[in-house]
Symmetry: C2
Subunit: 744 residues, 2 copies
């Protein structure tokens, strides 16, 4: 992809965000062209990525550029300036649906071969597997993470606080976690003195050595290894269940089976088979035969027993229900449908479910639809302790107050697949007792653990360059925001102690004069941050990758009610920048509403915020003063939009995404016309500002007129024709006309 | 009192300790005379102090030396070495009983004139009032406080742990305290730039100025002022009661009405009149007429209504019981007798009751005799927060484990009546709305508060010399014990911020090389100490006077099950030292058992420990190597005594205080005979060691023989004849003979 110094690359993704882009971009370009900035589209949609993977199957006309590959290259360019919208992380069913849609549109692409037996099919499967799941972020996130609540959003939350359930001092809710036998207590860590290949080996009882994996490590890279004992885990579950039963609190499991996709489904599976121990004991042999897999949750039992005769099914269901007599009440994901916490592993995702519980008076929902105090079970203790700390804090000080509380922005170590999130390919469930060890190029054993069958062993890499950049980013953020920064590094964690040494070595490379930068254990750090927070003070959390993920949900949900309104910036190692718009997925339900009622309730707030930072950074890096002015005015326009309540309504017939875009354009133009830094620019935009204001009612009427009927022009879900989408998303001739003729 | 460099002054006090002294001292002297040390008795008993106050009423033979006055002088002597045993802090009934006993013994002392109308009676009352209450400590405690668990006691507790109730993670127990309107939130503090008199003034609404008190302040002295709003207090009680009712926890009030003798009875009284609000509302006028004072607890209602006709009494009692319907369950002091927490103000003393509750799984006793989760109400938030911190800690980590936990010794600011404990004469309950202010010699207003009728205002002094010595003592203890020391000084407290400045100024006057000395807020400090504690590490708490009092109960009760086994040293400002033996009162019940069954279960462990430190200090200060050897051997003997279970039994017929003393003598002699530092000394004690061992059975038999019958030789309770006491307390002719002829 060729970009100039004055190019912003705007990703075209999927579902609601891609629909919204069609309406927003013409407005954006009206402003950016005044600063000589080109806004280019890069198609990284699921359909686009599929088409790019099979060029030889397509006609010349059908063939597309590989947007993701291009963007991946661009991340290495110091001028890169990418606004990244949410995209589909495709599951197999989604992939299949998209393939079918493309085939129906005349694209001769192959089916997804789940059971690939021939070399050809294997090659096809290999191409598709690069598209599946979280395929975009690893390519684009070529830097560490800078996430914060934008000033406008924070100000809005203070004025219009979200609901927060009160906390009782007498609450019984607590976090429960292992006190030994988990990853935390077994972690070992080494820093490589030289670049070399190391081997992960399993040594069996009879001395047989099996090389599980070879890793190429860089000089200064940190390598950890750790394991969770399945015996300790199962004992913990048993004791935890008994304790909940005895003390009368609900039992709720919180893991991260989606993201920690190798280790956590196993942990989840143990919870299921311990909770329903009598069931699994009695029907173990049959379940094995049927292929029941507790790692897929209780739903696996329901699925697999369907093949059995009714009487046998009834017996099993009877035995299943009998388990509930012996066990504490289970927290519900959906109490109406009777779906518990143990139904499927993806239902309760710790980083979202724990803040939701804490916001909800520390309670979850019981079978009877009532909210109740809960034992929140997070077996691995490394990060679970911070939730107990917050629970204790809320019991002591009451619920957080969004109208007065400070903020905890995050600087997260993420670059070069840092830390645990890159460890899926280095995670193993032990098939037998033995020794897991890491051996260096000279044959020296760097780390080793005695393991038993069923234990989960994993290794984890963190590159020195990523850490060095992370330290730099922390200092930069502390300086630019004049805010204390705390490195969350636990004294009792081997990995963190290796990082402490590096942090202590790299910090003095920067000008620290006047900065307040500290290093604290997790409990200390969260307590320190919360004590400041309730006094209205901000504290930057500088954390590893998992805590980045957890904290950028935890604090925003307390502060803003959602993490979707956070600014998420990836300052690339190569010098460029990526500005991610809010999390919250690509909202298939919103598409459904548009298709049926032509109302799009997707909120582009994340795009507004990301774009402002993108413009600001471009202004600074490329010395483009107009970009800076536009950035400032866009932020003011966004704040006004929030203040005047011009965000999309959920209800058809009211202001939707398109109307919200109109107001953004109006306010932005008014701000540019009103500013005095660049009089020429003000003069250029004065007519547009006036014209948009004069035509407000007309435009709103045109936008409203289309609502209530199906948006039948749009023919595809994953790969709609852009011209069709344009017709739907730009229904106001008046607005389109004003934009087309503005400051030409 | 004349003492030489080699004198230890041993106080003769009251009740059980004074009985024990009679048995122990002959043994002690057997050892000390070998080191050229004289052990002198100083009579500071209640009877002794009364007799010393009326010399003109006594015959020459009856006249006694004023032991307390002498000791008071001695505290100014750098050679002072005082072993101080617990004495009676006389209440008026105790004083009266003692006077009567003395009169019956032929001492012509006057009665206590409660209602003193003539000048003569006023003068008598004035003399007695100097004897009443806590009259000894203020005279003798001419230094700061050094309290710690002796190594032998800590080792014993680890081997033979006291019981600790388990903590549930789901416990509902919590501390409840005001979030505003209390002393903490209104505290102001100033440091005097020069010595001067300041005035505490009340300015009424119409501008009338009343001087409440004039204080002579030293240069560098810290003066605080603060008030508690009675409205805020009563609102807090009301909300707290409603919350306990709604959440179903018991309600329990924890104050310190004995020690905080002016302010806390008022706080207690508000609790009573809010809890029984309907009762006090309905019968307010009558109660006023009858002189019912809620500050004296519900017992005041029962007392005062006795004069009413039965039917009226019944009506009142009915209305009283009706209050319970509206209120949460009250924690019981004695559930058998139906005595609640609100019965009398001295029943629940926060520094003892809170650790007892925490040791007891965080529960107190309900009406039904069952233990239950509790809302522990401590209105003033300054120190209440540390209990909530410990409660949260126990919920998170479980009960403390006495077999592994570290220790939290204390260095307490106490000298020259430092801090709150000296503020009774500067505490005022407001009679009307107005302004309380502190005005300096130049008429400048140093501090002021707008107050309302019923508010409690107080000032508090801390002298610079005391603070300077406290800092020095902290450094000394950190150095001598090689233990981190934490100054507990709260950033959000005005008083503590003045102290922080002084600590920061005085610390650099010492050699801090290699020491770990920190300053932390209370919550941080207790958390830091507890985190270390559960990891087996010790942390010195360096605190103000109230926290000294609280923490030297809180931590010892967790570590040792009691605070009575702590070493309590007062290194005098003048250079001498006082070694206090364990707290726990003077045990009138023990005297009763002795009188009736001739068994004394008083444990002299505190005396053993104090004496060892006394000897050690004397050895160091006076360069007496034998004293050091004796000290070391005494500590070993004490440890052996604990290990072999030779402490007094509670049961008549088993080993009692006297038998325990025999074993101490035996083990001490054996240790001295076995040590190699001083061969001559070893040789001197070898015969005694052998003789005591050889005669063990004979001596035990002689000691046992007297038990089971009344100790009728002893005629007085407060002022028994020492010769009679000696007969009872030294019944073994064999032991007496061996001691009399030992190493002459």
């Amino acid at each position: 992809m060729t970009t100039t110094k004055s190019t912003i690359v705007y990703t075209l993704t999927d579902e609601a965000p891609s629909l919204a882009t069609c309406s927003l971009l013409p407005i954006v370009r009206t402003f950016t062209r005044a600063a000589g900035i080109d806004v280019k589209i890069s198609d990284i949609s699921l359909a686009g990525r599929i088409l790019a993977a099979f060029p030889e199957k397509l006609t010349d006309e059908q063939r597309v550029i590989d947007g993701l590959a291009e963007l991946g290259e661009l991340t290495q360019d110091p001028h890169a300036n990418i606004v990244k919208l949410p995209n589909i992380s495709a599951s197999v069913p989604q992939l299949r649906a998209c393939i079918a849609e493309l085939q129906s549109q005349g694209y001769d692409i192959p089916d997804f071969p789940e059971d690939a037996r021939t070399d050809e099919l294997k090659e096809i499967k290999e191409r598709y597997s690069r598209i599946l799941g979280s395929a975009v972020n690893p390519v684009l996130r070529q830097g560490n993470s800078d996430r914060r609540a934008p000033a406008a959003v924070k100000a809005f939350a203070r004025k219009h606080p979200h609901s927060m359930g009160p906390w009782s001092k007498a609450s019984r809710t607590h976090a429960d976690y292992m006190r030994g036998g988990d990853f935390f207590s077994s972690e070992q860590s080494v820093t490589m003195l030289k670049a070399q290949d190391v081997r992960i080996e399993f040594v069996s009882g009879d001395g047989q050595v099996e090389v599980k994996k070879t890793l190429g490590l860089e000089e200064g890279e940190v390598l950890d290894s750790m394991f969770m004992s399945s015996k300790a885990l199962r004992n913990f579950f048993e004791e935890s269940l008994e304790d909940a039963k005895n003390t009368g609190v609900m039992w709720s499991l919180h893991v991260k089976a989606t993201m920690m996709k190798v280790s956590h489904p196993i942990v989840f599976g143990h919870a299921v088979s311990v909770f329903y121990k009598d069931l699994f004991d009695k029907h173990g042999a049959l379940f094995e035969e049927l292929g029941v897999n507790p790692n897929n949750g209780l739903s696996s039992v329901f699925d697999k027993i369907k093949s059995l005769p009714d009487s046998k099914q009834e017996e099993i269901l009877h035995d299943l229900h009998a388990c509930y007599e012996q066990r504490p009440e289970l927290a519900m994901v959906d109490s109406v449908k009777g779906i518990t916490n143990l139904h499927i592993p993806s239902d309760v995702i710790v980083d979202a479910s724990m803040p939701a519980m804490i916001r909800n008076s520390g309670q979850m929902w019981g079978r009877d639809g009532k909210q109740k105090d809960t034992k929140a079970v997070m077996p691995e203790s490394t990060y679970a302790r911070i939730y107990q700390e917050m629970i204790n804090f809320c019991k002591t000080n009451g619920a957080f107050d969004p109208t007065t509380m400070g903020s905890v922005p995050n600087v997260g170590l993420m670059a070069m697949k840092a830390e645990e999130y890159g460890s899926h390919d280095k995670t193993f469930e032990m098939a037998e007792d033995g020794t897991m060890r890491v051996v260096d190029a000279d044959g020296k054993v760097l780390m080793q653990h005695e393991v038993e069958k069923g234990d989960i062993w994993r290794a984890c890499q963190t590159k020195d360059a990523a850490i060095r950049d992370w330290v730099k980013l922390a200092v930069t953020r502390a300086r630019n925001s004049d805010t204390p920064a705390v490195f969350w590094l636990d004294e009792e964690r081997a990995h963190d102690n290796e990082l402490r040494k590096k942090v202590e070595a790299y910090l003095p490379e920067h000008d620290l004069d006047g900065l307040d930068i500290r290093v604290m254990s997790y409990n200390e750090a969260i307590r320190f941050s919360m004590e400041r927070m309730i006094r209205g003070k901000d504290t930057i959390s500088v954390t590893g990758n998992v805590l980045r993920d957890y904290l950028t949900d935890l604090f925003p949900i307390m502060e803003l009610g959602t993490s979707a309104k956070m600014l998420s910036i990836v300052p690339m190692l190569a010098g460029g920048g990526m500005y991610e718009t809010g999390a919250g997925g690509s909202a298939p339900k919103h598409v459904q509403q548009l298709m049926e009622e032509n109302h799009l309730r997707w909120d582009s707030l994340g795009e507004f915020l990301a774009l402002a930072v993108s413009l600001e950074e471009l202004g600074i890096k490329e010395d483009n003063p107009r970009a800076k002015v536009l950035a400032k005015c866009l932020d003011k326009a966004t704040e006004k939009l929030l203040d005047t309540g011009k965000s999309p309504s959920r209800k058809t017939g009211e202001l939707d995404n398109r109307g919200s875009h109109f107001y953004l354009g109006l306010y932005w133009a008014q701000e540019v016309a009103a500013q005095t830094e660049d009089a020429d620019l003000a003069a250029e935009f004065a007519p547009l500002a006036r014209a948009l204001a004069d035509n407000e009612q007309q435009i709103l009427a045109e936008l409203a007129a289309v609502q209530g009927k199906p948006a039948s022009q749009i023919k595809g879900y994953y790969h709609a024709d852009r011209a069709d989408v344009k017709k739907v998303m730009r229904p106001s001739a008046t607005l389109n006309g004003l934009l087309a003729t503005a400051n030409q």
